[in-house]
């Protein structure tokens, strides 16, 4: 099995969330990471590729 599309999450202990931001903003972080993951599924890749998330607090 190959993981061709990799979305860089927040940090290793909490890849799709960020406990250091306020709870109401934290939902936005999670949404941004999830949306980016869905988006890159539609993008062509030649091999394993890392995608970043363009959202404050997501990284």
């Amino acid at each position: 099995m190959r993981a061709n599309r990799i979305v860089a999450g927040v940090r290793i202990p909490h890849p799709v969330s960020n406990p250091t931001v306020a709870p109401e903003k934290e939902l936005g972080v999670r949404t941004a990471v999830a949306r980016r993951a869905l988006e890159v599924l539609t993008l062509p890749v030649d091999g394993p590729t890392v995608f970043t998330v363009d959202h404050p607090g997501a990284r």
Binding site: V10, R11, I12
Partner: protein
Amino acid sequence: MGVRGPRLEQRTFHVRDVAFGSTFGVERGRLELDRDALAAAVLADDRVARCEVQLVVPGEDARIVHICDTVEPRWRVGGGTFPGWISPIRTAGDGVTHRLAGVGVTVCCELPWRATGGIQTPRENIAEMRGALAQLNPLASLQNIVLEIALRDGLSDEECDRAVHVAELRAAEHLAREATRERAPDEVQIFELGPAEPSLPRVVYVCQITSQGPYAGTFYYGGYLDRLMPTIVHPNEVLDGALVDGNVAGPWIRTPTIVHQNNPIISGLYRDHGRDLAFAGMVLLRGHYYGMDDKYRVAQEASKLVRWLSADGAIFTWENAGNGIMECLYTLQECERAGVRSVFLTWEHGGANGDDTPLQFYVPEADAIVSTGSIDEPVTLPPVARVVGGETVRLNPQLGGERVPAKGPIDLSWRLELYGGAGHVGETRYGRIDV
């Protein structure tokens, strides 16, 4: 006129036999120790509720469990032993230190499992004293003075973590001081980085440790190194007790304190200094940060320090597991790009059959790798006649934990519980032993 660098005079007393007696002393390789006086030194810390002193010798049909750490007995003449713990904080590595070679003081304690969880859960640290697996731990070749201790109830995780190390360090200092104070050593070794021919290649030792809070920490002069920015240390500091290992959460993948005190990379570079190379210094960094930004940051910083030491070559060792390999290899990558030829020491995965991926991460610049062995092959620890440290062992904390008799047999699906086995700095015979 340059400033004189550190000069460490190590006075070695070789020990080949150890026995309880009415006093302390070392005579022709025989160490005598007063069991009650040693326990009393440990019990002077009111966090320690119980302390029993046991002896375990090489080849004995025995197993040591609940190990928290092992230290070589040392005493600095004039005071200052184990700074930051039992002496004021002052840079180690300059002066005169007595050591009892061939002896390890090991502290054993069943640390509490609390809510900390995850990578900070104390795991079972087991040392085999006979059989093939004995070659993988630092104790099987030593005369072992084992402190079986219990801590008072109600201590925080950090207090528990500190108390076990204070216990071993107090005992180690007491033993070395009382046994050797008025005696002449068998051997004297000077550790001083004198001038070397400018034509010799300059080699830096890049030593990566891990430190992630109680039960998963490394201490530098008594303090956790969790937020360490990469720094230059003198190798004498490490030889003289500046680093204390507290990584009970990673038995296989830790560097016990006695290994830091006798780091073979440091002694090897000293041996070759002025002959084949110039030992240009040592860079200490922490790995296993939680985000990519921190990994890149420490790699930039550490590689910058290597270049400032005017290195032609570098030797890299790392500690712990998982993504901790990344800081070390990113640093190596930056060094290679700057023209510093680099060698990497590491243990491997490889799966139970040795045919799976060996490393979790890799950079193409790492083209000179020394393997210290694999962790993944399952092993069964055989029944033994005697266990020291506890009657049961606790396995699989991630699954809620299960207790099995320490006398064995004990099935380990992989080798994580085997104390000090991965041999990150090449101190054990091999990481991989067929049994």
